[in-house]
Subunit: 198 residues, 2 copies
């Protein structure tokens, strides 16, 4: 197994857990928080700014920002600057050898750089995701959970579309997409490992 695996995922679909297990089974590094840490080191931005860069930008904020700037958001914009450093960090991790990289448009960043990857997208129904997020956060209000899913999905969609020009979750951007709610996490791990095999 000589591949870099990127995992994009809907919020609450278990992408982190599945990605970690794939990396463990293959004996290769799993990069998620490390990307944040390295980006903080390299950019000078604080942990909180980098950590919430992707997740907390709402579609409305983003549109407003685009309209107010009267042009495409510039490289000097905090978000673009963080993305640029993150891009370099991801390329460096990929250069070091086979690994699993979670989120952050790694699929598109590596494709553009001509790095061979297995690109995976993981999704699940709202019912499955709400149950998972409830488990993780302790929140038991169905309305609150639904709001959290919609907000995170909106942010990820906006972020992905902005930086890649492609539709988040369209099967044609990935080599493999999986419904983790219907298939189960263990089956997803098995399928990704099988897809990555030589």
């Amino acid at each position: 197994m000589n591949k870099i695996i990127t995992i994009s995922r809907e919020y609450g679909a278990g992408g982190h857990s599945i990605g970690r297990q794939v990396a463990e089974q293959l004996g290769i590094p799993f990069y998620d928080r490390d990307i944040v840490r390295e980006t903080v080191k390299a950019s000078g931005f604080d942990m909180d700014t980098v950590e919430h860069d992707q997740e907390d930008v709402s579609r409305a904020d983003f549109l407003l920002k685009s309209i107010c700037s009267l042009s495409a958001p510039s490289y000097n914009d905090t978000q673009d600057a963080i993305h640029e450093v993150q891009r370099a960090v991801i390329l460096q991790f990929a250069k070091a050898g086979p690994c699993v990289i979670l989120g952050r448009c790694a699929d598109d960043i590596l494709r553009r750089a001509g790095v061979e990857c297995l690109n995976v997208f993981i999704h699940a129904s709202d019912v499955h995701r709400a149950a998972r997020v409830s488990e993780l956060t302790g929140c038991t209000s169905a309305a609150e959970l639904q709001k959290m899913l919609a907000k995170k999905d909106g942010s990820r969609h906006t972020y992905y579309t902005h930086y890649t020009g492609k539709r988040w979750g369209d099967s044609r951007n990935y080599h493999l997409t999986l419904d983790s709610g219907a298939l189960g996490y263990a089956r997803c791990v098995q399928l990704i490992v099988a897809a990555a095999a030589d």
Copy 2:
């Protein structure tokens, strides 16, 4: 293995060949031409009309028809009538037990009827698909091949969206999507069989 497997696919992505091999490996029926034959028998329409129902409707034709009727296309419309008979044929095949069903919105038809399925979508890059279509048709003009891909994709997209209200190829409509160009047909067969296992 106790599942019905539906396979939707881009033109030239090898969905027919992959579906047939999955059915052979699992020892279950593969329905493609049988759906056409049964629909001809049950509807009274001739083979040619039924056969080209899905494939040959261009997006422009479809829009024009919708505008001219000044309302949503009616049930008496040939296309809707064929779809309705095809729906019944697909439900009957599914009722008879595990099988592989190719195309024709079977994923959505069975989901609405509450039938448990594994829904698969198969796609590939234009380069891979053009090579495959060239092999199948003998056409060697790159421009002609590109035109064929665009026409068939347009028809399938329009047909799927019209009858399901969903976006053709969005990963969230399927349990598993595969890039057959990057993964290879044999690997796709292996992954579908593994995903369908109990």
